[in-house]
């Protein structure tokens, strides 16, 4: 990979990499819809991967500050780098974009986000939606623009095995293209609980905004632009139906959504 910049969400970021870094491995931790180039307009900052100096200081750097140590060109290191790159993007996102801990898809024209903590079943639900023909927007980190619309921000789909994530290599699902921002019609706060049955309660706008606030991908960004962030969340919840509940099988959520349309 010779490019010195990648562009994502309308911003440019510098990228300094050692020649030894495999292209396929780098693409695992950079946003999947990044566009690489040799020129940048208004570069926000630079990510640098250092693996050549003393071993102790090897790692991924952002603006010369260590983000994460380098453990090798492996899956775990890529996972750590991916999440920290996403956090760095999120910290530079407001007022144009807000990052939420949420899966996001478009099923039959219905824009859906399903916020939740790690291990709440977002990836499983995303995969279930995709198997039923949904368009893929995100499985863990959903991006919303300043009008409250969903922006494609896909990462390599993951499947949890025990405590570890494994990337799903065979991706035959349809991914929303860059520029296809989608209105959000449904917000589903669904926690997985073995044996549970999905019988959700409908939330008011305020309750839903409050719960979305708890699912900000990068809470400190709120300090910079709270008014904008609240405005975006209000736009999301004002235009959507919002539900809260425990779910068992992911397929019952898909049935629920299809029953609404």
């Amino acid at each position: 990979m010779d490019s010195s910049f990648f562009n994502v969400l309308g911003k440019s970021f510098g990228l300094k990499l050692p020649e030894s870094a495999p292209d396929a491995w780098i693409r695992r931790w950079l946003p999947q819809n990044s566009v690489f180039s040799e020129e940048a307009v208004n570069c926000i900052g630079t990510f640098e991967l250092r693996v050549e100096e003393s071993e102790l200081e090897n790692g991924l750097y952002w603006q010369d500050e260590l983000l994460c140590s380098f453990g090798g060109y492996d899956e775990e290191t890529a996972d750590g780098f991916e999440a920290l790159v996403q956090m760095t993007l999120a910290s530079n996102s407001l007022p144009e974009h807000l990052f939420l801990h949420a899966g996001a898809v478009d099923l039959d024209g219905i824009g859906i986000i399903f916020p939740g903590d790690s291990r709440s079943g977002k990836s499983t639900l995303t995969r279930c939606f995709l198997e039923k023909g949904a368009k893929y927007y995100s499985d863990d980190c959903a991006v919303v623009d300043s009008s409250g619309r969903l922006v494609p921000f896909p990462s390599a789909l993951k499947q949890r095995e025990g405590r570890k994530n494994r990337r799903v290599e065979d991706l035959s699902f349809e991914t929303a293209g860059t520029g296809t921002n989608k209105s959000i019609d449904l917000v589903l706060f669904s926690d997985f609980e073995s044996g549970a049955s999905w019988a959700p309660e409908k939330l008011s706008d305020s309750e839903a905004v409050w719960r979305l606030l708890q699912n900000l991908f990068f809470p400190p960004a709120m300090r910079e632009n709270p008014k904008e962030a609240l405005g975006i969340l209000r736009s999301v919840c004002g235009g959507a139906e919002c539900y809260l509940g425990k779910r068992g099988e992911a397929s019952e959520i898909v049935q629920f959504v299809r029953g609404l349309s």
Binding site: L84, S204, P220
Partner: protein, 181 residues
């Protein structure tokens, strides 16, 4: 106990959003968000600098007697004051009294939903390290952890500690780390 006191809702340094009878407030000074349920919101809105506690109570929605309504207003004011959402000094009716007991008594006696204020904090990115920085000796750019970094157990290199950019989060919430032992 003085219900002739006139509470004034703080408006400065706040971002306020209202919908469905509830109010969301963001405190720009403390970087905290508050969610006021309809009863707390109604009391807060009524703190206009003209109405006494007794007047706010008499205008409160619901059909209970004045005494019970005043207790509900004082429960709301108590929380609003604690969250720094009241601009002037007021002396709480329940000062020195166990609030849980009061809530139990008022809750049983009144048909009005009790006032509830939930709070969320939004951390800065410059908090102190969560594990002793000595555990990160030799790691990090300058041998310890730099500004905005935390020393956390690494999942990338199990069994080691590393300085990571904290983004205001705790070890374990930062990708590639687990909680401190």
């Amino acid at each position: 106990m003085n219900s002739s006191q006139i509470p004034i809702a703080r408006k400065e340094g706040l971002v306020i959003q209202e919908a469905s009878g509830e109010v969301l407030v963001y405190d720009l000074d403390k970087d905290k968000a508050f969610s006021l349920n309809p009863t707390a919101a109604e009391v807060w809105r009524a703190c206009d600098g003209n109405s006494s506690v007794a007047e706010i109570a008499s205008n409160l929605s619901g059909s209970r007697d004045q005494e019970e309504k005043e207790k509900v207003v004082w429960l709301a004011l108590d929380q609003l004051k604690e969250k720094n959402l009241i601009a002037n000094e007021i002396t709480s009716r329940f000062e020195g009294v166990n609030r849980r007991e009061v809530i139990k008594k008022v809750g049983l006696a009144t048909a009005i939903a009790l006032p509830v204020i939930a709070m969320l904090s939004f951390p800065s990115s410059t908090l102190a390290a969560a594990c002793p920085v000595s555990l990160c000796g030799g790691l990090g750019v300058s041998g310890g952890c730099g500004p905005g970094e935390r020393c956390c157990p690494s999942t990338v290199i199990p069994g080691t500690f590393q300085c990571v950019s904290a983004f205001g989060l705790d070890c374990g919430a930062i990708p590639g780390t687990t909680a401190c032992p």
